[in-house]
Amino acid sequence: MEKIIFYILSATILSLSLMSVLSRKLLRSAVYLFGVLTAIAGFYFLIGYHFLGAVQLTVYAGGIVVLIIFSILLTHEIDHQMPTPDWSRVAVAGALCVAGAVMFVQLLQGSLFSRVEAPEQSDLNTVGNTLLNPGGGGYLLPFEVVSILLLAVMIGAIVIAKQRHSVDNSSPEKQAP
């Protein structure tokens, strides 16, 4: 049963990500990306990491995709069609990616990962204790660094996206005589 669900999920992930990369309509591409991220959250739930799946759903599928769709709607027409990329660029990129994928999959087939049998400790208690443990093996310092990074990004995004009314003398309206 889990095997069938895994195959359905991986088929969804691969086909939707391919469609998201190939689609010429911008908004549709973002919706395909939403499907990919939701399927990945389903994969996390399937593998048993419920907290990570919930975070993926809320932050990625709920936050990042909405942000991307907002920016698309702010900067494009709703049925904006992108021009098809040049033939040479598609050929070079496709050859590069197919070669890389074939090489990596070939390398994977030869490798022997021996599965480790150990008691499962993936409940929320373990995650929280490891995340906030300042001692050995704990992740308290990265946690604090990420929180400072989030604060810095918040301030940075406000400063970058803020409209400058008086000090801006490089905008095209003011340069025109």
Partner: protein, 105 residues
């Protein structure tokens, strides 16, 4: 672990997803679609972390925490990139990489 599914299959899926992202990154010209391809690549890496944690080190939550930090950093990156895109659109009315040749203040 998922019964009946080996680690190799999960890694194959994440590899293919990563290279689909690379293809989009190389062929697209719109800044927002480049950002979306970047998200695909990051998610492929996150699947790798989670699969290795589940199959090789089931007693520790380390890979899960790496994936959590990856999600946080990706959220930061998207927020900054969207701010830059909107500011750029306000200045030059375009978000194609070929028309963006100035990041000067």
């Amino acid at each position: 672990m998922i019964p009946g599914v080996s680690l190799i299959e999960i890694l194959t899926v994440s590899t293919l997803m990563f290279f689909i992202g690379v293809y989009g990154f190389l062929t697209r010209k719109n800044l927002i679609t480049i950002l979306m391809s970047l998200e695909l690549m990051l998610n492929g890496a996150a699947i790798n972390f989670v699969a290795f944690n589940k199959y090789l080190y089931p007693g520790q939550p380390n890979g899960q925490l790496f994936a959590l930090f990856l999600i946080a950093v990706a959220a930061c990156e998207v927020a900054l990139a969207i701010a830059i895109v909107i500011n750029l659109y306000r200045k030059i009315k375009a978000v194609d990489v070929e028309q963006v040749n100035t990041l000067k203040h």
